[in-house]
């Protein structure tokens, strides 16, 4: 791993850090991995693949109706038009938030998440409290994120625990009619594409 972080070196490693180091050593000794390959994977997801990719997909869908139609009918192909494809995005589904419907994505099994468009999942997405609560009390979860929806809004939870990966197409906020596609991409948040955020009017 690159050594440019700032943890104090006199602290013992956590259990997770020790386990990761032990696994990496064993896999390296058995010649299943070259540690440099692991560094490259980490670097790729730290610097190249993240939620800005998904934001570009969303901004294009907001400004190009034909693209939006393709995105909702064959998400994998439409997303790959923008160059985003690969691990954990092989089979994508995009669900659209509207005035009447709000979608939220979860994986109750573990942490399934659309990597090419959103990068690696945030810690809370992988944590048991989110996974257990959002399928039962989504309005309570939204409240924790500071989001309140009218009672009339239909809520759809997508448990992505098989092989499909889900991306939410957030509702385009009011007051953004004059914004360009690039400007729109700037205002799309990661959480809005998971469904735990609603984008504020501008």
């Amino acid at each position: 791993m690159p050594h440019d972080h700032s943890h104090p070196h006199n602290k013992p490693l956590s259990d997770v850090e020790l386990r990761v180091k032990a696994l990496e050593s064993v896999l390296t000794e058995k010649k299943l991995i070259d540690p440099e390959a692991i560094d490259l994977i980490v670097e790729t997801y730290e610097t190249k693949i993240g939620p800005r990719n998904g934001a570009r997909v969303v901004a294009k869908a907001w400004t190009d109706p034909a693209y939006k139609a393709r995105l909702l009918s064959d998400a994998t192909a439409a997303i790959s038009e923008l160059g985003f494809s690969g691990v954990q995005g092989e089979d994508m589904v995009v669900v659209e938030n509207t005035e009447a419907v709000h979608n939220i994505v979860v994986c109750t099994l573990c942490s399934c998440y659309p990597w090419p468009t959103l990068g690696l999942p945030p810690v809370w997405y992988k944590a048991a409290p989110y996974r257990a609560k959002v399928v039962k009390d989504p309005r309570g979860v939204l409240e924790e994120f500071g989001v309140s929806l009218p009672d009339e809004t239909e809520i759809r939870i997508w448990d992505s625990n098989a092989e499909l990966r889900y991306l939410v197409l957030p509702k385009r906020p009011d007051g953004t009619d004059d914004m360009s596609e690039a400007q729109l991409a700037e205002i799309v948040t990661r959480d809005a594409m998971i469904g735990t955020d609603v984008l504020a009017a501008h």
């Binding site: 790729t44 809520i155 939870i157």
Partner: protein
């Protein structure tokens, strides 16, 4: 097994490995079918969570043919079958005190489902 080296990482990340299979397997269910998840309790790997076992839903979309993780995870083969998006109401899953306009969608394999009576 070949060593994971830096030169194959970019291609690996960009391509991934879909669990979708190009096999001609008949679908056991159609969009609109009322289905019931089997009440089974495997002690091995499964993608059938407890909270939908024994619950009734409706097939919303047929995603096509995929490898079955319940067998694949244990080296027992792909057992290619259809995966469907199945819609459940919160009232069915969690009880009648839940709002009517709340739904849960989950992707279910043929082997998990039977026709709802």
């Amino acid at each position: 097994m070949p060593t994971l080296t830096p030169d194959i990482v970019p291609g690996l990340i960009a391509t991934g490995a879909s669990a979708r299979l190009d096999e001609d397997v008949a679908a056991k269910f159609s969009v609109g079918d009322a289905v019931e998840m089997k009440n089974i309790n495997p002690v091995t790997h499964t993608r059938l969570p407890r909270y939908v076992r024994g619950k009734k839903g409706v097939v919303e979309r047929d995603h096509g043919v995929f490898a079955f993780p319940d067998t694949g995870a244990h080296g027992l083969g792909h057992k290619a079958q259809h995966v469907y998006s199945v819609k459940f109401s919160f009232r069915e899953l969690w009880g009648e005190d839940h709002a009517e306009n709340m739904y849960l969608y989950i992707d279910m394999f043929d082997d998990y489902m039977k026709p709802a009576l």
